[in-house]
């Protein structure tokens, strides 16, 4: 299993107020584990405002991330939301996308992490997988699901 995804970087069935809350929540374990700088959250929120990352899959997904300089240790945090939260559309900030799964990417060497990034994209294109992830009641379930793709 890629060391970027850990069970303690997965939070399920969460309640948040808005997309920026969702980013902050997803960043929490990464901050606690020394994977990102404190400025990461603000930078990721700012980037989300300018270059949104919502994807209009059947179960909406967002891929917030920010620049490499805020990443101390490459890592990925996953949050599933109890209720959908609106993110703006990637490439189209005026589009409102209801999102239920957030992959927060703390990456500084995308070439090295290509496999895990491609795996996430493969999962995003798999509606059944997205449903299983959304419905997961425990982080372990999501961890195991993703493991089958690596």
């Amino acid at each position: 299993m890629s060391s970027l995804i850990h069970i303690d970087r997965i939070q399920v069935n969460c309640t948040v107020n808005d997309q920026f809350d969702a980013i902050a929540l997803a960043a929490k374990p990464l901050l606690a584990q020394g994977c990102i700088t404190e400025d990461f959250i603000e930078a990721a929120v700012e980037r989300e405002r300018t270059f949104p990352t919502g994807l209009p899959t059947k179960i909406g997904v967002a891929l917030p991330h920010t620049e490499a300089k805020y990443v101390l240790k490459e890592s990925i945090s996953i949050v599933t939301l109890k209720n959908t939260i609106v993110f703006a559309g990637m490439g189209n900030p005026k589009e409102s996308i209801p999102v239920q799964i957030v992959f927060l990417l703390a990456i500084n060497n995308p070439e090295k992490q290509l496999k895990i990034l491609q795996t996430i994209i493969t999962i995003i294109q798999n509606e059944k997988m997205l449903k299983k992830i959304k419905d997961a009641k425990e982080p372990q379930i999501i961890y195991n699901l993703i493991k089958t793709f690596l």
Binding site: R47, T50, F51, T53, L55, P56, T57, L63, H65, T66, E67, A68, G89, M90, G91, N92, P93, L105, I107, N108, P110, E111, L114, L117, Q118, I121, I124, Q125
Partner: protein, 94 residues
Amino acid sequence: MKLVLVACGTALATSTVVAKKIEQIALENGIECRTVQAKAVDVFKKYQELGPDVIVCTCQIEGNIEVPVINGRAFLTGINLQSTIDQLIEILKK
């Protein structure tokens, strides 16, 4: 050799995945093609410098661009993927 400029907000995550997919599609279709990644803020500069045949982006881009611009989101979502691939191949085969 065709040149595809691939852009996303930070040139970190999505453009890397999209660039690899484009390289693979080109290979499968016997098209010689190179990809260059750019951050959204640098796209226009890179466009002027490199003169790509096409720009594929997962972000909104600004400036007066006179080559085709393809929305690369389909490479991530899989939605309307085939029509996006067809559009890209048509441009690259010209």
